[in-house]
């Protein structure tokens, strides 16, 4: 599984970073990015889905 942040939609709500800091980071200006090229380590798939389900801007894309 991979995750990707669509930077044209992300507004820095930081839900992804709060819910799955293993998968996402945010910078000082509130832009989120995926860690580790977006590769989701085994066992963290649910966290990835949870982050996507809580992004108010629909900016997180999951590729299974």
């Amino acid at each position: 599984m991979r995750v990707r942040v669509d930077s044209s939609k992300c507004q820095g709500h930081n839900r992804c970073y709060a819910l799955a800091p293993e998968l996402f980071d945010v910078d000082d200006l509130g832009n989120a990015s995926e860690l580790n090229d977006g590769v989701v380590p085994a066992g963290l798939e649910d966290k990835a889905r949870l982050a996507a389900a809580n992004c108010p801007e629909f900016a997180i894309i999951i590729e299974e």
Partner: protein, 413 residues
Amino acid sequence: MTSVYGPVADWQSDFDHADPEYNRNIHAIWEDLKAAGCPIARTERYGGAWLPLTHEMVHEIAYDTDHFTSRTVVVGQIKPHEVDHLPEFASPPAPIGGAPPITSDPPFHQHARRLLLPAFAPKKIDPLRPEIERMCNELIDKMGDKDAVDAAVEYSQHIPVMIIAHMLGLPLEDADRFRSWVHLVLESVNAPREEREGRFHEFNEYLETHIRDHIENPREDLINDLLNAELMGTKLTSEMVGGMVTLILIAGIDTTWSGIGNSIWHLATNAVDRRRLAANPDMIPVAVEEFLRAYAPVTMARLVTEDHEFHGVQMKQHDWVLLPFPAANRDPEQFENPTEVVIDREVNRHSAFGLGIHRCIGSNLARLEMNVAVKVFLERFPDFELVTDEETVWSTGQVRGPRRLPVRVLSRR
């Protein structure tokens, strides 16, 4: 306080969001409107305003900065274009507005926003946790062993002011004055105009004095940072710094105070959720998101820039449009069982902190304050309940939360 517009005749064609009835019965009013097939209400008060109720509409307006300007985000009796020719009342025009970045439109907006974002980034805010925890405990210590406490007056209203005054570098002794100005800007929008104007003047003078003092005696705080910051190659004027400080005072106090109060109100009226959270404090972060969804404190506003049709209604240039994120959060198209408060809701794309380019800059701080305030309250008062509905007093206007919230303490630690 009486409204200059009188009692509401009908919520579909004569709504008044600053009538005390609105915040008191907000959920029933929306349900009635939607049941009557009215997804967007209208009023001729305030010179004409719209109230859209679906997530789709709120989302669309928040994203469409061409048709909807942020020049003024609080609905008032006077529209900015009506006083543009009067120097003593005129506010800076779009795309800057009087309190950047909230009153700004693209392309200027992002430049002003960048000046504030770093101070509120998670890595700056997270370290404040122990300080907020200490403050919350101190507030509870002060309550002594009374049977009943006011969770709004003795608790929630103090927490955000203390943090904001500290960040800005303004004296904490002035907390009552800050709260009274916040009340002026946000709550008394339908009070007689002459009463409002004198108070605005006092607020501006206060800020000018403190900004001047910061220029003469530099120190390490946000006002100082703003005075030294550059925007597109030039230093900020002291008016612009004043506008930004006003924004942070107004946006940072009432909102979070309401968010904490709404959470405690829910717990005081819902024994199952209260006991569940008291026994499982690790559930608090997810529960706070649900409180933010179900009782979102903030409704914003926009002004229509040109006549156009919107979802079947004819919008006119200079019409106000309210942006009720709280209503969007209860749209069945977006949320399963939206009227139910589910404290462990997993899918929760709520928009309590807005949508699009104006996403709340203080969201990380507000979330931290709400989480700590709820956790400490439950730690110290594992069981409590609302004294009576009648004694609960709700705010009026675009920020909704309890201003009096007497609760009976059933157990304490």
